[in-house]
């Protein structure tokens, strides 16, 4: 029942938000709703009782589908990330103004409900349902409150992901007819015995859907444009949380359902991911727009995670799942900084900024820490994950590890260059009047920085959380 609450709170809260006309009130309401979800999540984790982590009810018995939720280690990590990220997003964008803010916050909360549904669903059809539903509010958010080219860009994003998920649906329906007990439940889908040839084509039907969402090269073309055009609060949701849907689905659905297919095509997938890492890093170096820079850097990071998942060894899997959380936190920090800069100076162009550190020290210190975490410096949270992932990749194939390793160097190049150009150097007439950020924006960033350091030196709790998922995946290949 408690697991159900996690979805219900943002769902009802989101629907309620549409009816609150006053802007201040709707902001407080959304913050309260997201904090309530956080409280429930903390309760679930602390209570440790397994009953809180599952829920099941009849939904469509004649279709073999039930409303069942299961929170295993990996979903716990991602649910936690979601409920932690949302309050931070609401706090740091508190001063941003949106026309008809009630719809904006309502849709944000509905997205949250969809995301939590995806991370919890333990039934194939239900999973598909939430997978699509999470997309609809995002479509409205980006198209209504985004930048100049928002309508066309968001539309491309929508149709892209929609095609992917429909292909997945066909695979799912086909798979349903192979189950012995005509059921969409996770166990029944896992238990289907398939020949290698069947696994091969089913693997691609599902993988393309997930690859578009992540996105893995060459399915990434929607991503930089969408990140750039979306309002920054939505970009935070997209890049910190929504891309994790694809990675999550690979571990929860793809690998257990088609182990032979995953093993057979691991070289291709890792090859694509590594190619994407290098490609995106090189492009990131040439961007002048902060949002595009972070968008490309995000593709590189996601590439490493998707490569690691397919190495199918313990170290890389553990690293990837820790990185799910760390990347979410770090990229959130990066977007917060972008949002604060854009709100103050009205531009995101690196070439038009400079010398902000002289005026806004709080912002600069926090940004530098977040940026260093983004390049995975030791002592930061990302280091733990990346180290493990490269370790695993190295065991899988030394060449992939070597080529992928280049992206670490490249990421240092573009991140440090960005810090230098934006925060140091001389001020221009735009940045001369810079003021530091307000206390609650600092508070939001400090929470992020705290996560960065704590998980950087003490990652054990997350290890403990994802342990069962890692064991499950490795168990399949024993």
């Amino acid at each position: 029942m408690t697991a159900l609450l996690l979805i219900l709170i943002p769902l009802i809260g989101g629907l309620g938000a549409f009816f609150i006309k006053e802007e201040k009130q709707v902001k407080s309401w959304s913050l309260i709703v997201s904090l309530a979800a956080l409280a429930v999540m903390v309760y679930v984790l602390l209570s440790g009782s397994p009953e809180n982590k599952i829920y099941s009810a009849d939904w469509l018995p004649q279709l073999g589908s039930s409303f069942s939720l299961v929170m295993d280690g990996m979903s716990a990590v991602l649910c936690l990330l979601t409920v932690v990220a949302y309050p931070i997003i609401f706090i740091t964008t508190w001063s941003s103004k949106y026309t008809s803010s009630n719809s904006f916050y309502g849709l944000m909360l509905l997205t949250m409900a969809g995301l939590l549904g995806v991370f919890l669903a333990a039934d194939g059809l239900l999973f598909y349902f939430f997978w699509e539903l999470a997309l609809i509010p995002v479509y409205f958010l980006c198209s209504k409150w985004g930048g100049e080219r928002r309508i066309a860009v968001t539309f491309k994003f929508f149709i892209y992901t929609f095609i992917g998920s429909l292909l997945m649906l066909v695979g799912l329906i086909w798979l349903y007819y192979q189950t012995t007990d005509a059921s969409f439940s996770m166990q029944s889908l896992y238990a289907v015995k398939l020949s290698t040839a069947q696994q091969a084509w089913l693997f691609w039907l599902f993988f393309i859907a997930f690859a578009i969402k992540m996105p893995v090269f060459p399915f990434h073309t929607w991503q930089p444009d969408t990140y750039e055009q979306a309002p920054t609060a939505v970009t935070m949701v997209l890049s910190a949380l929504m891309v994790k849907m694809g990675l999550f689905a690979v571990v929860r659905w793809l690998i257990p359902m088609f182990p032979a297919g995953s093993y057979e095509f691991s070289n291709i997938v890792i090859g694509l991911s590594v190619a994407g890492m290098i490609y995106a890093s090189i492009l990131a170096m040439q961007q002048d727009d902060l949002k595009r820079l972070i968008a490309y850097s995000s593709i590189a990071h996601i590439g490493l995670m998707s490569a690691s998942l397919f190495t199918l060894n313990e170290s890389a899997l553990q690293g990837a799942m820790i990185q799910f959380f760390s990347h979410g936190i770090n990229v959130l920090g990066m977007w917060v900084v972008v949002e604060l800069i854009e709100r103050q100076f009205g531009t995101r162009k690196i070439s038009e900024l400079g010398g902000i550190a002289q005026k806004a020290q709080g912002l600069s210190i926090l940004l530098v820490i977040v940026a260093l975490a983004n390049v995975a410096l030791p002592l930061t949270n990302a280091f733990v994950g990346e180290f493990l992932m490269f370790n695993g990749l190295f065991k899988f194939n030394i060449w992939f590890a070597a080529i992928g390793g280049l992206s670490i160097i490249l990421s240092a190049v573009y991140t440090l260059r960005m810090i230098q150009k934006v925060f140091y150097g001389n001020t221009n007439e735009l940045t001369a009047k810079a003021v530091d950020i307000s206390w609650f924006e600092k508070a939001g960033l400090i929470v992020i920085v705290a996560f960065i350091f704590v998980l950087g030196v003490f990652p054990k709790p997350v290890f403990a959380m994802v342990n069962d998922t890692v064991t499950m995946i490795l168990g399949i290949f024993k």
Partner: protein, 459 residues
């Protein structure tokens, strides 16, 4: 039987009311009363209490599927009257006659849903078609409407001829008009007559449901006819013919599935491709809906293709989802002056409630989860997967569904994201309330399709 009787009688009642009641506006009230009477009659049909309970020596069969299907149809009719009744009266000088013709069409639909003999099927299809020719030309001063009606009449008569020929061939093959006898003759050792008969009937029914390559009349007729009748033709009439199509193939030709499935699959692929791709290029929402109705017919054809339990439930859901959404969209459209996509710019600011309902309807047509359209598509596609060995067709269909998102979402984009004044349309509060009911129905079926499909297995 109640439904067939009441609809025929009420058609006559409507015509005479036109003579005796002077008030023009009363026509709508009489029609709504008729629809309610039909609904009640249908309920009694379902419980087996009929005015005349004969099956006319096996000419009709009162199976549950057909009766439930008629319930959906009558509910759609009621909503159609409630939303668009005023627009029907505004078409021309003879409001009572228009409603009378609609009731005759419903009578035909009743025959088509319950036939057990090819003669009844033929009569039903004809009763549906002839009033439609008249309705298309009902706006006498509109040249486009006249042209469309003539075109429709000529091509429709041609397809009727083909159907009659097909029935004759089937008779030649089996020596009977009864569906069971035809089913008995349509087995592995069937003779060439039966084969020709099946193909000819397939062609003529494909024409009636506007499946490619027999769809050429559709855009012109839908565009030329008064918008309010386009709505009726594209929804209630189309799904009524589909039930006949499905029943005939499921009960008559199930024994030789392998022989015709490939042909039907090609028809489906062509219909989906032509309907969706052409709809993308339309500038008028009305014409776009005409092509989209071709595309949706492609999805409904999946039920004819698969002819299993899933297919029947699927067609039922599809009929409900598609009719509700399309009727609601046309109801708003017929109140507007500018039919282009740009005409919808800024609509959400002007009419937030109607815009929301329209958005739900377009989501449903596009098959987005949590709307009835999703489960409609889900059921028919699942039925096709279950029928086996045609997975390429299903994959092609879902790609075409993604294409359909393109043109459906253009309206949503115009309403919500583009700046504009928004057209002034005058609607009564009752109209809005019924629209909201439609949206609620669509979402309810989108969360729990069993609300409808369970009726098939109840009792």
């Amino acid at each position: 039987m109640n439904l067939i009787l009441i609809s025929a009688l009420w058609g006559v009642v409507m015509m005479f009311s036109g003579l005796f009641i002077k008030s023009r506006t009363a026509a709508k009230t009489v029609a709504i009363a008729g629809a309610v009477a039909l609904l009640i009659g249908n309920m009694f049909d379902l419980t087996g209490k009929m005015i005349i309970s004969s099956d006319f020596k096996g000419m009709l069969q009162y199976d549950r599927f057909g009766l439930i299907f008629l319930t959906v149809l009558v509910v759609a009719l009621l909503i159609y009257f409630l939303l668009s009744g005023d627009d029907v009266m505004a078409v021309g000088k003879h409001p009572y006659e228009y409603f009378a013709l609609i009731f005759f069409i419903v009578c035909g639909a009743g025959l088509v849903a319950l036939f057990n003999n090819l003669l009844i099927l033929f009569i039903g299809i004809e009763i549906i078609s002839i009033p439609l020719y008249i309705l298309t030309a009902s706006d006498k001063r509109n040249l486009k409407g006249n042209e469309a009606a003539l075109k429709y009449f000529l091509m429709g008569s041609f397809s009727t001829g083909i159907m009659l020929l097909g029935i004759a061939f089937l008779y030649g093959g089996s020596g009977s008009f009864r569906v069971e006898s035809i089913a008995a003759s349509a087995n592995d050792s069937f003779i060439i007559f039966t084969a020709i008969g099946i193909v000819l009937i397939m062609i003529s029914l494909a024409f009636k449901v506007s499946a490619a390559p027999f769809h050429f009349w559709t855009p012109d007729v839908y565009d030329g006819a008064p918008t309010v009748f386009t709505s009726f033709m594209a929804t209630i009439v189309k799904v009524a013919v589909f039930i006949g199509f499905l029943n005939l193939f499921a009960n008559g030709f199930a024994g030789v599935t392998a022989k015709w499935q490939l042909t039907v699959s090609i028809i489906i692929a062509l219909t989906l491709f032509i309907g969706n791709i052409t709809a993308v290029y339309q500038q008028s929402v009305k014409r776009m809906l005409a092509y989209s109705s071709i595309a949706q017919a492609g999805f409904m054809m999946f039920s004819v293709f698969a002819i299993n339990d899933m297919a029947k439930q699927g067609l039922l859901l599809y009929a409900a989802a598609y009719s509700l959404a399309t009727i609601a969209i046309f109801a708003v459209l017929s109140k507007m002056k500018d039919y282009t996509f740009d005409g919808f710019n800024g609509f959400a600011k002007k009419q937030p409630v109607l815009a929301f309902v329209l958005a739900v309807c377009f989501f449903s047509l596009a098959g987005i989860p949590a709307t009835a359209g999703f489960f409609a598509k889900y059921y028919v596609l699942t039925a096709a997967v279950k029928a086996g060995s045609y997975l390429w067709l299903v994959i092609f269909a879902v790609i075409m569904a993604a294409v359909s998102v393109y043109y459906y979402f253009r309206v949503i984009q115009a309403m919500y994201f583009k700046d504009g004044e928004g057209q002034d349309i005058v609607v009564a509060p009752a109209f809005k309330a019924i629209m909201v009911v439609v949206a609620v129905l669509i979402i309810a079926l989108g969360l729990l399709p069993s609300l409808l499909t369970n009726f098939l297995t109840l009792y």
